[in-house]
Every structure is written in C-alpha cells, then in structure tokens.
C-alpha cells in the first residue's frame, strides 16, 4: 500500500501526498498522487494508472472519505496519469474530471461519460473546491501538447505534473529534495527527453517565477520546497530540452 504524507495543513485545508508503494511492481513507473481537501470536499490530482488503483484508494481512504471526492484533475492524458478513471467512477459516478479540452474526447477511452469531463481551455481556468479556488495553470508541451499544472495560492503549492519529475534510484527516494545538486542529476535526462519545447519551457518558467510557491510537487520523484523551488525553475530555464541521443 502507498503511504500518505500531509505536506500542507491549515484547518481542513490540506495537501496530502500519496506516495511510495513498496509492493509496486518495478515495471510500473512510480507516481505521486496528491489529494487537496477544503471543507468537506476533495480533489485528487493525477489519480494514477489502473494497476495502482488499489494502493491509491486504500491510502487515500485512510486519510479522507473517498466518497467526498468531487473531482479528479488530470494534468494530461498519459496512462500513468488517469487510466484508473473508470475505477474511481465505479466508486463515485458523479465525480468530475478536469482536463485540457484537447484530451476531452481521448480520455473517455479510459472511462467516464460526457458528463464526467470538464474541458479546460488553453489559457487555464479556476477550479472551485468548497470556497477555495484552485488555478489550472497552462503548461502546454511540457510534455503533453495539452498540459496543465494546478496552483493553490493559499497553500502556495504548485502541482507540476511531469515538470520537476525525477527517476529516483532505490535508497534515494525520499519525499523531499534534500540535496538539490545530487537530486537534479536524476531529473536531467527525463527533462531533456520528455520536454519537447524550449519556447514552452521558457514561458512556463516566466509564469511560475511570478508565483509565490513554497512547494513544487511533481508527479514522479521528490518535492522541491523553499529555495529549491526557485533553484529548480532557474535550472529548468537554462536546460536545453527536446534532446534525444538517438
């Protein structure tokens, strides 16, 4: 089973990271899921692949009533992001899925009906959560052509999808980045190959540099906090992406 770690809490406003399943098969890439709660409602960010649904569901249920999940947010369309959608909808058919309009007719192949999907326009949108307003921040071409991150200006947390992701070796898989220089080596190859556009990367860096961010939370790897957030943005800004060795 995955473990949960509350990374932000102010009353009933919480960010919970659902991470690191020791029983996960190695052929599946490791993913981080994030639960944001406010009041009595919750939204699950990048709910994960179908094969890890049992681990995510049981971990989430230990922290929060899964029946109170009103929505999932899918940063993009990949199977490790949201192929579990059909299973979450088995549990709660009224759950909504926020996703780029670009993928609104693709992701239903994983499950859901026309009523399930809330298509996000390219410029982004506000996502309400019982009095809290979360912001879908454009991150197109990083790596998907229709890609969003999610910003919580109250918690000062940015969920950054695949940006900031690192493929961590065993023994170096702590939840937070503690040694930026050592950590970023595990992120470099991933970003060079997966991020396809230097122009999109530059625009993203400019956009998020203006935000107040205490934690930058990727879907793979470890969370950047404090000064490491700006350190990461600067590092990413200088990195040449869209590079393939072949």
């Amino acid at each position: 089973m995955k473990t949960t770690k509350t990374i932000f809490q102010d009353g009933n406003h919480k960010w919970v990271a659902i991470v690191r399943d020791p029983e996960k098969q190695n052929y599946l890439i490791d993913t981080n899921e994030y639960l944001v709660t406010h009041g009595s409602q919750g939204i699950l960010l990048d709910p994960g692949g179908a094969e890890i649904f049992p681990a995510v569901f049981s971990a989430l249920a230990s922290e929060f009533d899964p029946g109170a999940l009103t929505a999932v947010f899918a940063s993009h369309q990949d199977p490790d992001i949201c192929s579990s959608l059909a299973l979450w909808l088995e549990f709660n058919p009224k759950m909504r899925c926020y996703v780029s309009w670009l993928w609104g007719s693709f992701i239903p192949h994983f499950g859901g009906t026309q009523q399930t999907f809330v298509n996000l326009p390219d410029e982004g949108a506000d996502i309400p959560l019982e009095g809290l307003t979360l912001k879908a921040v454009p991150a197109h071409y990083l790596h998907s052509s229709g890609n969003f991150h999610l910003y919580d200006s109250v918690a000062k947390v940015l969920f950054s999808g695949d940006v900031g992701a690192a493929l961590l070796p065993p023994g170096e898989d702590g939840l937070f980045v503690t040694n930026f220089d050592a950590h970023i080596r595990h992120a470099e190859g991933f970003h060079k190959r997966w991020m396809g556009s230097n122009e999109a990367k530059r625009r993203w860096c400019e956009r998020v540099a203006q935000m107040e961010i205490d934690m930058l939370c990727p879907q793979h790897g470890a969370i950047y906090q404090g000064a490491d957030v700006q350190r990461f943005i600067s590092w990413f800004d200088e990195l040449q992406v869209g590079v393939c060795g072949g």
């Binding site: 049992p54 249920a61 029946g67 088995e90 549990f91």
Partner: protein, 211 residues
C-alpha cells in the same frame, strides 16, 4: 445462473483466459463466415449463368431452369443467414470485450477491497460482480443464438444440396445441352459441399461449449 459461471467471473483470476480464447475463436468463426459469403456470391453468379443456359436449351431444360432459379434464391437466403451470423458475431465480440474489461476491473477492485476498510467499496465490488454476471449471461445467450443460427444455416444448406442433386438429374434430360448442364450441376454440388464443410467446421468450434 450456472454456479461455475459465477465462480469463473468472480474468482481472483476472473475469466480472462476463456474470454481471450473466445476472441480467437470468434475471429476464426468470422473468417469461416466470410468464406461462406464468398461462396454464396459465387452460387448466385453460377445460378444466373445456369438460367441463361437453360433458356438456350429450351423445353429440354425447363426443370433445370426452375432449379437454377431456386439455387439463386438459395444463395440469397444463405447471404441473409450469414448476415444474421455476422451480426451475432459482432455482438459476441462486444460481450467478450466487456467480460475482459470486467475481469481486470474486478481484480483491481477486489485488491482495493482487501487493502481498504471502506465498506462502500465492497458494495461497489458486489454491484460490479452482478454486472459481470449479466455480461457473462448475455454472452451465453448470444452463444446459444449463434448456435441456433448455425443450425438454421445448416438446414438451408441441406436444401441447397437437394437442389444441386436434383439439378444433376435434370441435366441428364438436357439432350444436346446435357453435357454442359451436367458440368454446371456438378459445380453447384461442389460449392454446396464447400459450404457444408465450412458450416460443419463452424459448428464444431469450441466457442459453443463455453458458458
């Protein structure tokens, strides 16, 4: 409900192996149906030619002409019969796909139930099991319908065989056209045998031994 069916669907392994094998069997059945459809088209053309030949032969081939016309109707009936089979096959593909999907989802939900203390998930699993059972039962019903449709097609082919053999007899009365009519009737007999063989192969498919 067949208790074996419930066990297969709700057991930890689901009934994926059978559903996977069923898909393969369905593909083979569909290929055989396509063969019969091609042959039915061939009979239609042959019957048309035979009608013209009988007309040229005149009164000596009146009976042959009637039988050729009947064979043409037979080829059209056969085509319709294959359309029914094709439609049922498509339904079976749909149901087998649902059973395959059910199997995966049920496995994952069962794992989630085992790891979580949330009783509502158990109810979701039970509802899913009931839905799976409905899919398996519907597939079983389609299987039976397909079997019956194949029996109907086999009976139709028996009629085609009788018509072809009668055409052989009538050809003997064709006087100067007798040799040509005999050749045509032998061709009819050959293609009807081809269809009979395809249908027998279909009826032997292990697909019909499933739930």
């Amino acid at each position: 409900m067949n208790p074996g069916t419930a066990l297969a669907v709700s057991g930890p392994a689901g009934n994926t192996p059978q559903a996977g094998a069923d898909l393969l069997r369905i593909v083979r059945i569909n290929e055989e149906i396509k063969t019969v459809v091609r042959v039915a088209f061939k009979i239609n053309i042959m019957a048309l030619n035979a009608i013209f030949l009988a007309k040229r032969a005149g009164t000596a081939a009146l009976g042959f002409g009637v039988l050729s016309n009947e064979l043409r109707i037979f080829s059209q009936d056969l085509r319709e019969s294959m359309d029914v089979l094709t439609s049922l096959i498509h339904g079976c593909v749909n149901d087998v796909s649902l059973v395959l999907q059910d199997s995966r989802h049920t496995r994952l939900l069962r794992q989630a139930v085992a790891q979580s203390s949330d009783q509502r998930l158990n109810r979701v699993l039970m509802a899913k099991d009931a839905e799976n059972e409905r899919h398996v039962e519907h597939l079983g019903s389609l299987r039976k319908q397909l079997g019956r449709a194949l029996d109907d097609a086999a009976r139709l082919v028996e009629l085609g065989g009788v018509l072809a053999k009668s055409a052989k007899i009538e050809a003997a009365y064709g006087q100067t056209f007798a040799a040509a009519l005999t050749q045509v009737s032998a061709d009819f007999d050959g293609v009807v045998e081809e269809i009979r063989s395809s249908l027998e192969s279909l009826r032997r498919s292990t697909f019909f031994r499933g739930n």
